[in-house]
Symmetry: C3
C-alpha cells in the first residue's frame, strides 16, 4: 500500500478540473453531513478537505474535534455553539445566571455564543466544539479543514474524534464485499467501562451510556423539547460589547481563551471593496480576526452583480477554495503554461479551487449575480490583479507595457488607464452585456 | 529504492501498537547506546527517533551533533556537559580560572554545566555537545530526536555527525552478506590529512590522530584518570544564581548563547498539578524554558500513586512519547474510530506513543505506582481531559450532556460533577482498588 | 507516474556529488536562461532550483512571478528593476515627474530601482517583477528558487507564470516523439479574449496582443530604442537616502511595500570577517535585510586569496548552495559517515551544495584565488568551524580534546591554540603553498 504523503505537496500537475459537489453523504438523526472527495486532484493539490453539515431545527451536533484547523462559514440559519477550550479560567461561566443570584448549585459552563448566517468561525486543531440549531430553518455550515496545515501532525487524512454518539456507517459508500457494517464508536467507547465508571464516579450503567454502544443517531441528534441552555443575547449592541470584552488581554491564556473565534462577513456596510455598479468584497484575515494568525487561514466573501466581473488576478501566497453561495459565475482559471484548467460555470453549492499563483477571472452570469465565500490557506492571503485601478499593470511604466506586448504607446496607455476609475470589481461594459459574452 | 518521505506525515493508519523497547544496541568503550526502531509505525507516524545512552563512570561522550533538535532526559546519575555554540562571546570562558588570577595562558572554554537525574536538556539541530560522567553510577540519558521537525532540512533519517571517535559497527544488526565490517569515521576523517595539518597548524601525525582512523573506542570513551575540567558549582543557590545570570539579555546573540538549555523536572515541590491522593504532574514548555519555542518541543514529568489514574484526555496539538521511569501502568489509547489501539501495561524503560488527538488513559498498577516522562512535539503542548474538575465535560451545559449521551438530568449532573473535587490526577475509588480493575 | 513529493525531505542518501553546470538552456530574443537540473540529487535533497539569466544590453525581462521565494545575485552588469507589489500606496509613484510639475496625465508607476553587480535581491513567492538591462554589457543574474519553502503551497516543481511574452520551447530538451512543438503562453493567453477586452476596456485586437499568441520573443525581449522609464539616481548618497526612506514604517503595508529588497554585498569595506592574508566574508541575513526573515533565506559572499583556506565547518541550520564567481577552489564535503561526498575543484559558474550538517572545507587553488556566493536556506544561517579562533575546538576543555583524540596534552594545546590568531579564513602556511597540496 502506498504511504500517505504530505498532501499539499503531493501533486499539482493539474490539466483540467471541474466544479465539485459532495460525493459522499452521511445521514444522522437530525441532520446530514456531505463530504467533498479529498482524493480529487484539486483537493489533493490544495491539501484541504471540505464538508457541509445541515443541522435540522432542534438538532444538536454532538461534541467532537478534528486533526486539522478549520474555518466554518454559516451559509444559512442560526444556532448556538460552544467550544471546549482546556484550562480556560472561571470567567467563562455563564454570567447571566450568576447575576440573577439563584441557588448555589447552578450549572456552569464555558462560553456559549450565538451563530447566524454569514458567520465565519475559526477553530484550532484538536479543540472540541458542539453546535445546536435553535432556529426554525436548517442550519447549513460549510467547513474547510486544512489537513496539510502544520498543526496537523498526523497524516493528511481528515479525522473526526467524537466525544459522544456513534458516527453512522456511510450509506452511500460501497463497502468491500464480505465486510459487515461496523459502527464506529466515540472515543470513550474504546476505554474499559469499569475504569470509565471509576473515572467519572458513576455507575457502570451510566458509563455504558457515555460509550454510546447502541446509539445509532449519528453525529447530529434530535433534542426533543429544545435544548435548555443559557443563551447569549441576540442584540447587536450586546454582541458588540461581548466582542469588546473578548479582546481585553487576560494574562497568558488570552492566546486562546479570550480569542474571538467569530466574525460575521455578510454585512454589506463593512465591505473592503465596493463598486455600486459591480459588487463588493470583504476579506477576513488575521488583522480582523487575530486567531487566524494561529490557524494560517483566512477567507473572502464576495458579491458580483449581473454581468459584473472580478478582474483577472492571482493569489500570491494561498490556495483559494471558492464555494458558490448564490447565482452563478463563469470562472476561468489559468496555469503557468497559459492553459485554462477551468473554464466553466460555478453554481450554488459547488466548489472550485484556484490554486496558488494560478490566474483567475470571475464573471457573474444569469440574472441573480454571483455570491461566494472563498477559504484561503494563508492568514493574510494576498492577490494581485491584472486590470483595474490597483492592478499589476498599473504598476508598470508605459514603455515596459508597450515593449512587453508589442503595442503602440497609445494602446499601452489604454491598457493601463482605461479602467482607471474601477476597483478589482468591474462593472459590465455595454459590449459585455450582450449574451455572447456569457459562457456558451 | 523508495525515496524517503517527510515521515511525520507518512502514515498514521495505526491499528494496534505495543510497548516498545530498544531493538538495536551499540557498545562503546565506556558505555552503550540503545536505539528504538525508527521504522516502527508508532515512531514513523510521530516522526521521531529515540535513543538511550548509558555512560559508565569516567566515560566521555565525545562531541557530535545531530540533524534534529532534541530533548534529553537524565534518567539516572550525574555528570558535566558542554555545548559548542558558534559565535558566543567571551563571557562563556571559565570564570573561576579567570578569577583566581592564574598565569596568562590558561585554558579557556565555553560554558560547562552540571547535569543530574531529572534534568531535561534542550539542544537545537546541528549544535554539537559533549558529556562526561563524573559520578559513581552509570549516567542514563533518554534522548528524543524530532527528525520531522522543520529544523531538519535533510531527509527524516536520524544522523549523528561525530567530531571525534569512530562509531563502532553495530554488532546486533545484520549486515548484508559479503559486506566487510566498515568502520564509520568522524567527519574529520573525510578530509585530506595534509590540509587538516595545515588548517590546525599541527604535524601530519597529530592530524591523523584527530581523524581517529584506528580508533575503535566508539562514541563513549574512557578517561583513565578522570577528566580535568573546570566544574561548575554544585550548590542549589549557585545554580540559581547562574540561572538568573543566564536570563539577562545580552544583545543579539542572546537568542542562543545565553539561553538556558536545562530545567530539572524532578522537584516535587514545583509540580503544576498535585493531588495528595493521586500523584503529581509537571510540564516544561516554552514559558518555563524559552528555548523550547525554537525547538517546538516540550515535556511532561508525571507520578501516579498506586491505583491512581490520569483522567482520559487527548493531546490537542502534539504527539506524546511516553517513557516509563518506574513502576508500571495500564495505558489505553483510543483512535478516532473508538478502537483501543493500545491497551496494555507500560513498564520501566518502555515507550508507547499517544499520537495527536488520540484519547489516552493511564492507571498505575502494581505496588510501585507509575512514573514517566513524556516528550511532546509542540513547544506548548496542550491536553484536554474528559473527566475531572478541569475537563471538557465540565465545559458543557447539562442539557447538552443529557442529550448527547441520552441520560437523565440526574445522570448528566453526576457525570459532570461527581469528580468535581479532583484534578486531572484521580485518586482510586474503593471500587477501583479491587484487583479486577487492573489489567488482567 | 510517481507523485511529486515535498522535495527537501525526499532523499539525502548522498554518496558522491559533482560540480554542476546548467544542463538546459532557453534562448530568448535578447538573452538566455540556463537551468540547473532540479532532479540532480544535490538539488533534490536541498529542495531548491537554480537558474542563471543573461540579459543582453537593451533586453527587457518581461514581468512574471514564480511559486517560490527567491534570492537573485547580480553577477555582472547593471540595470533597472521593478517589483509589482499589490496594494502598495501612492507613495510609490515616480516622484521625479511629479516634482517637475508636468501636465496632468503623467505616467505613474511603482518604485523602480537600479541594480548592479554584487546586488543580492530578495523576492517573496508570487510577487511579479521585471528587469531591464540599460548597461553596455550583459547583465548576469543567478537566481536561487527555494521550491521547498513553506511559501510554496504547490508541489516542488519550479513554475514561472509569465504576464507577457511566450516562453519559447526549450531547444535543448528532447521532446517525446510525435509531439508537436507547442508554445506555452503567458497567463493572459488562457483567458477568453472578449472578456479580456472588456476587462481592460480595449479593443479585441489589443486584447489579442496582450495574449501574445504569435509572440516568439521568449521571456527576454529587445527594446529597440532603449526603454523610456524614470530611472532612479545612480549616486551612492541618493541610494543611501532612498534606502533610509524605505525603512520608515508606514502602517500595515510596511511589511512588504516599504521593505528593502536589495543589499549590495560586493563592498569589501563592509566585510564581516577579514583576514588580510586570507580573504573576506560577508553574510546577509535577516538582521541586515529584514525581508529575509519572511523568505527564510540568506546569503554569504566570500573571497579567498591564493592558497588561503576557509576552515572546515558545518552549516547548523541550512543548506549552502555554493556558486563560483571567480577563480577556483578545492572543496571537500564530508557526510555523517566520514566519507568525502565531494572532493574536487569548483570553478566559476559551477555549483556544489553543502547540505545541512555536512562538513565543508575550501581552499583556493590556481592563481586567481576564489570568489563565491552561497545561498542558504535559513534566514539566519549559522556555521560552526572546526579550526581557528572562533572554532568548536576552541570551545572544548583541553582535557576533553586530549581524551577524544587520544593525544598528549601538548598536542591538544597545539590543536586548540596554534591557529588562535586566525579567523575562519586561514592564511596559507609555507607547507600548504607547495603545489602538492592542491588538488591533483
Amino acid at each position: 500500500m502506498p504511504s500517505q504523503q504530505h498532501k499539499r505537496y503531493s501533486e499539482c500537475q493539474i490539466q483540467r478540473i471541474s466544479a465539485q459537489e459532495p460525493n459522499r453523504k452521511v445521514e444522522s438523526e437530525a441532520g446530514v453531513s456531505e463530504y467533498w472527495d479529498e482524493k480529487n486532484e484539486q483537493f489533493e493539490c490544495a491539501g484541504v478537505a471540505v464538508v457541509r453539515h445541515i443541522i435540522y431545527p432542534n438538532g444538536l451536533f454532538v461534541p467532537g474535534y478534528t486533526n486539522s484547523p478549520r474555518l466554518t462559514f454559516i451559509e444559512k440559519g442560526r444556532g448556538i455553539r460552544g467550544e471546549m477550550i482546556p484550562g480556560c479560567p472561571e470567567t467563562y461561566q455563564s454570567s447571566q445566571e450568576a447575576r440573577e443570584g439563584r441557588q448555589r448549585f447552578l450549572d456552569q459552563h464555558q462560553k456559549v455564543h450565538r451563530i447566524r448566517q454569514g458567520d465565519l468561525l475559526a477553530l484550532p486543531a484538536g479543540v472540541a466544539h458542539w453546535c445546536y440549531n435553535d432556529g426554525e430553518e436548517p442550519l447549513v455550515a460549510v467547513v474547510l479543514l486544512d489537513t496539510s496545515n502544520d498543526a496537523n501532525q498526523l497524516d493528511r487524512n481528515h479525522r473526526r474524534f467524537n466525544l459522544a454518539g456513534n458516527p453512522k456507517q456511510d450509506r452511500f459508500e460501497t463497502r468491500p464485499r464480505g465486510t459487515e457494517e461496523k459502527l464506529e464508536r466515540n472515543v470513550l467507547g474504546g476505554f474499559d467501562t469499569r475504569i470509565l465508571a471509576e473515572v467519572f464516579g458513576v455507575s457502570i450503567e451510566t458509563a455504558r451510556k457515555i460509550q454510546s454502544v447502541d446509539d445509532r443517531r449519528g453525529n447530529i441528534v434530535r433534542v426533543e423539547r429544545g435544548l435548555s441552555v443559557v443563551r447569549p443575547p441576540l442584540t447587536r449592541e450586546e454582541e458588540e460589547r461581548e466582542r469588546m470584552r473578548g479582546s481585553q488581554p487576560n494574562g497568558l491564556e488570552e492566546t486562546i481563551c479570550t480569542s474571538r473565534l467569530r466574525e460575521n462577513i455578510e454585512d454589506a456596510s463593512r465591505a473592503d471593496v465596493y463598486n455600486p455598479q459591480a459588487g463588493r468584497l470583504r476579506s477576513v484575515n488575521s488583522y480582523v480576526l487575530p486567531i487566524l494568525d494561529f490557524l494560517k487561514l483566512s477567507a473572502e466573501r464576495g458579491t458580483l452583480y449581473n454581468n459584473a466581473l472580478m478582474a483577472p488576478h492571482w493569489n500570491l501566497n494561498a490556495h483559494s477554495v471558492i464555494y458558490g453561495l448564490k447565482g452563478q459565475a463563469r470562472i476561468q482559471i489559468v496555469n503557468e503554461k497559459g492553459e485554462a484548467v477551468f473554464d466553466s460555470v460555478l453554481r450554488q453549492g459547488q466548489i472550485v479551487i484556484a490554486h496558488q499563483n494560478f490566474a483567475v477571472l470571475k464573471k457573474a452570469v444569469g440574472d441573480q449575480g454571483f455570491e461566494w465565500v472563498a477559504f484561503k490557506t494563508n492568514a493574510n492571503a494576498m492577490i494581485n490583479t491584472l486590470a483595474g485601478k490597483t492592478s499589476a499593470i498599473r504598476s508598470l511604466p508605459l514603455d515596459v507595457i508597450a515593449n512587453m506586448y508589442q503595442t503602440t504607446q497609445e494602446e499601452a496607455r489604454r491598457l493601463k488607464y482605461n479602467r482607471e476609475e474601477e476597483t478589482i470589481l468591474l462593472a459590465p461594459t455595454s459590449r459585455s452585456s450582450r449574451p455572447q459574452t456569457a459562457f456558451a
